[in-house]
């Protein structure tokens, strides 16, 4: 049924957006952690 495709599209869109955002947060976190370590060594 065509309508079911829309439903799956909505669910996938939700997780895509959440996933991408979480990914950027985690990435920035890792980058900052490594910066912190570098600063701590000096």
């Amino acid at each position: 049924m065509n309508a079911v495709k829309f439903m799956f599209a909505a669910y996938i869109a939700t997780w895509l957006i959440h996933g991408i955002y979480l990914g950027t947060v985690v990435n920035r976190f890792k980058k900052l952690q490594s910066q912190l370590k570098e600063l701590g060594k000096k």
């Binding site: 049924m1 065509n2 309508a3 079911v4 829309f6 439903m7 599209a9 909505a10 669910y11 869109a13 939700t14 957006i17 959440h18 955002y21 979480l22 947060v25 920035r28 976190f29 900052l32 952690q33 910066q35 912190l36 600063l39 701590g40 000096k42």
Partner: protein, 239 residues
């Protein structure tokens, strides 16, 4: 603190998985709309979480204006950003739901329009934070949040009145809720609320870490070049 966060993350993941199962498998198919109605289990919880996050932003902004505490500002940033993400999902899933059901992508009904205006206000808030070169950006952003909060009731009220004059389809929940549907809905509501809290908390920690690193960078450049060792070792401030 870190353990609490890990526990919350695991709980959230479990709730989300259970919620997904409930929404797609357990909940019965709606009589008039069909399977497309299942979007409701995601659309409304995300909306609820977005509004909660924006409320957190308002409280944090006012708290910052009064106390000038850094933590309040960091929470304001975090809740605004995460709120925009959840709000985006509401604005994406809404039209995806409406198109097959009512044949239209968009309608200027009360809920959807208010959500759009909130999204616009908070995207403007984030742009202001990014583009402002003032040292007092947090104050400016907090003031904008207050203006936004004053605006939202007016938006809701004006569109509500407009709609009583020019009725059109309302993108609401369709009909009464069967207990299994209610159960699925509540699970997802709880799951996304926890998810929102978790992501906001993570973003808050990221913001605090960011400020800490900025501070240390500033201290480092004050202390001199790399070849010169500072007389006092750089210490991590305990928070």
């Amino acid at each position: 603190m870190k353990r609490a966060f890990t526990i919350l993350s695991i709980l959230t993941a479990l709730l989300l998985a259970y919620g997904l199962y409930q929404a797609l498998v357990v909940a019965p198919t709606e009589r008039t709309m069909g399977d497309i109605q299942r979007i409701f289990y995601y659309h409304v919880p995300n909306a609820w979480t977005a509004f909660c996050l924006f409320t957190v932003n308002l409280i944090a902004s006012v708290a910052y204006l009064i106390t000038k505490k850094v933590k309040a500002d960091a929470l304001a940033v975090a809740s605004a950003e995460v709120g925009v993400i959840f709000c985006t999902i509401v604005l994406v899933t809404g039209p995806i739901w409406a198109r097959p059901v009512w044949g239209i992508w968009w309608t200027w009904d009360v809920r959807l329009t208010t959500t759009l205006v909130l999204w616009l206000i908070y995207v403007a808030y984030l742009v202001l934070r990014r583009f402002s070169d003032s040292a007092q950006t947090p104050v400016l952003a907090a003031v904008l949040a207050v203006f936004g909060a004053l605006d939202v009731p007016l938006v809701y009220f004006s569109i509500w009145f407009f709609r009583t004059q020019h009725p059109q389809p309302v993108m609401g929940k369709g009909g009464s809720l069967d207990p299994q549907m209610l159960h699925a809905f509540l699970i997802n509501l709880l799951a996304f609320s926890c998810f929102g809290a978790m992501v906001c908390w993570a973003r808050y920690r990221l913001e605090m870490l960011h400020r800490e690193v900025d501070e240390l960078h500033a201290l480092e450049s004050l202390a001199g070049t790399d070849s010169v060792k500072p007389s006092m070792p750089l210490q991590r401030s305990s928070r």
